[in-house]
């Protein structure tokens, strides 16, 4: 499983990987914070889209710019920009999502010192025909902006080729998720989390090839059938998770994370972009059709219905909400999501995390109690 080790190492230390691929060729690397960043466009421009997950270090410089009630993703990302840990980036793209990320964009532009900076002011309501037209228009503007900045032609053919590569990654990750849900022992939830994180920072062609090889090595065409282990099955729901150890804690407590509704999870994988016709319109179409994140709107109950459906489909005994402290969009959605789960008789629990996990004793007790309860 050298390949799995390689992907886990990249997820563990994505900055070292980025420095390596930048290398002598000075491959452009464009940072992003959110699953609404159109990475197909970035790939088509010959650049590597690089997802920023926050920091692993202490936060000090960022607190001079952001209030301490901003989430650790915004504060941690800015910290790494200000300390120079992200100096391999050629620029950053900020899709319009939550308030913190929008304001971070301004601070980033003024203080980050990166040559390229773009705000993609996406629509908030994603269930209207006008939003579709508008979404396509802003993505087209981003394409032109990036092409001019990187001085590349960025043709429709380039875009279609990039769409195919990113689609392959999504298909492979989707297959891995499905296999893991069916047979959780096939690879650990922690490893799956590391693999998907690696795919978000790697050169996408390399990621697609590595994932295809990983699937082959796991023999997923004929996955082993395991007897009911009696282990509990849970789903994670929330924003980003930058703590692989959390999956291990759940595993030790007797529960397998069999699916998720996370930005660092299935939100990245869900839906494929059409490979024929206007590629920009097809990218917009995926965002319009994909289940929304709480910073966007489709209808009032879509996420609630989806979460209940996910729990039923994957036979999960419970849902653990994993929220970054001070993440308002997720906190706003939580009461109604919990209500949907309560009505469906699915137990749930909230874990609030920051760049560091809470004291282990308390968190273990809460996780174990929840696992014992479901």
């Amino acid at each position: 499983m050298q390949l799995l080790e390689k992907l886990c190492q990249i997820a563990e230390n994505p900055y070292a990987y980025a420095e390596k691929i930048k290398g002598d060729a000075r491959t452009p690397i464009i940072g992003y914070f959110c699953s609404y960043a159109p990475e197909e466009v970035i790939c088509a421009a010959g650049a590597v889209p690089f997802r920023i997950f926050g920091t692993r270090g202490d936060i000090s410089l960022a607190d001079a710019h952001l209030q301490s009630y901003c989430c650790s993703l915004a504060r941690g990302g800015l910290e790494d920009a200000l300390t120079g840990r992200l100096s391999f980036l050629d620029g950053t793209v900020f899709p319009h999502t939550c308030d913190s990320i929008q304001r971070l964009s301004d601070i980033w532009r003024l203080n980050g010192g990166f040559s390229f900076h773009s705000d993609i002011v996406l629509p908030v309501k994603l269930d209207t025909p006008s939003a579709r037209t508008y979404m396509t228009a802003v993505l087209r503007d981003f394409r032109d902006e990036l092409a001019a900045a990187l001085k590349v032609p960025l043709t429709d053919d380039d875009l279609t080729s990039a769409v195919r590569t990113v689609n392959q990654i999504r298909k492979h990750l989707g297959d891995l998720y499905a296999a893991h849900s069916k047979t959780p022992g096939i690879l650990s939830a922690k490893a799956l989390h590391q693999v998907i994180k690696a795919a978000m920072v790697m050169d996408r062609k390399e990621a697609a090839a590595d994932l295809a090889a990983l699937l082959e090595s796991l023999g997923l065409d004929n996955p082993p059938t395991v007897a009911d282990s009696g282990r509990k099955r849970v789903i994670l729901s929330g924003g980003i998770c930058n703590h692989p150890d959390l999956y291990s804690l759940m595993e030790v407590a007797g529960a397998d994370v069999v699916w998720d509704d996370l930005c660092t999870g299935t939100r990245y994988v869900e839906g494929l972009v059409g490979e024929t016709g206007d590629p920009i319109a097809a990218i917009a179409e995926r965002y319009m059709e994909r289940m929304v994140c709480p910073a966007k709107h489709s209808d009032n109950t879509a996420r609630g219905r989806n979460l209940v459906e996910l729990a039923r489909t994957h036979q999960a005994g419970g849902v653990i909400f994993l929220f970054l402290k001070f993440c308002d969009p997720h906190a706003f959605d939580y009461p109604y999501l919990k209500q949907f789960l309560d009505e469906a008789g699915i137990p749930s629990m909230v874990l609030e995390i920051e760049e560091r996990l809470p004291p282990e004793g308390q968190m273990k007790t809460r996780i174990e109690s929840f696992v014992e309860m479901i």
Partner: protein
């Protein structure tokens, strides 16, 4: 019927209970030592001695509490939330809502008909609303923690602490001591501050049915009575056992269910 044991190693105290035929035949509580293993050994030794049995007589033992992973003589470990729920139901068979205030956290649980935890809420922000808060305040007031609860009934004009942060509240208490406020009025203010924090958590699980309180703070009458006023419901008492032993009792009960296949708990 076999002899079983439960051992609850918390951050402030370690407890062990020996049960036979569903009855407690020995128990022991000690102040936690730096190493959970040493605490567990000492607590179990005391309980064995009280019961007049030896370690070899124990058919099954479940460990719980924050030090549970470090106890080497247990057959398995179970979280203290599950154990307190089980112990509370044994102490008060009608208990539906359980409030457990331990040394470093505070939880409220709703129990199902079998005494299993159906829903719970736990503090995850800070040390206010935990036994540690009362311990720190008792130390500042130079009184025994067991005396703190009785001060509320004697208070004439209880103070209101400006902050429930344990560190800031400590500074606040020192200020009141230096300005000549009576120990009773300060103690009552401390108990109220504690009860206010706990009430938030209790209300989060929408308490129903009979309410019971476990953990060392259940013995603080000042906190208990203020909490009753704040949640507008009576918290039932039980003389069956010391509420501080509820976690260890629950662990012993689960041990019993484990070996005789009784009960209907959801553990594997």
């Amino acid at each position: 019927m076999s002899i079983v044991a439960g051992c609850d190693v918390g951050s402030l105290t370690a407890k062990a209970v020996i049960m036979k035929n569903g009855k407690i035949i020995g128990s022991h509580i000690i102040k936690s030592k730096p190493r959970p293993k040493d605490s567990a050994d000492a607590a179990l030794e005391g309980a064995l001695s009280a019961a007049g049995v030896s370690k070899a007589d124990i058919a099954y033992c479940i460990g719980t509490g924050y030090g549970r992973e470090k106890i080497d003589f247990v057959n398995e470990v179970v979280s203290e939330i599950t154990c307190h729920g089980k112990g509370a139901r044994w102490m008060l068979p009608t208990a539906e809502t359980v409030i457990d205030i331990g040394g470093q956290d505070c939880k409220t649980m709703k129990l199902d008909k079998d005494g299993n935890v159906d829903r719970f809420a736990a503090n995850d922000k800070c040390a206010s609303g935990t036994g540690r808060f009362l311990e720190v305040m008792a130390k500042v007031l130079h009184i025994d923690i067991d005396e703190l609860g009785k001060l509320s009934a004697k208070a004439k004009n209880p103070i209101t602490l400006a902050s429930t942060c344990t560190v800031w509240a400590q500074a606040d208490v020192i200020k009141y001591i230096n300005s000549g406020v009576s120990i009773e009025d300060i103690g009552a203010g401390v108990n109220t501050a504690m009860a206010v924090r706990v009430a938030i958590l209790v209300n989060a699980v929408k308490p129903e049915g009979d309410i019971f309180m476990t953990g060392g703070v259940a013995k603080n009458i000042g906190v208990l009575e203020t909490l009753e006023k704040l949640i507008g419901k009576r918290i039932k008492r039980s003389r069956k056992a010391d509420p501080q032993m509820a976690g260890a009792i629950g662990a012993a009960l689960l041990s019993m269910e484990k070996i005789d296949g009784s009960g209907n708990n959801r553990l594997k």
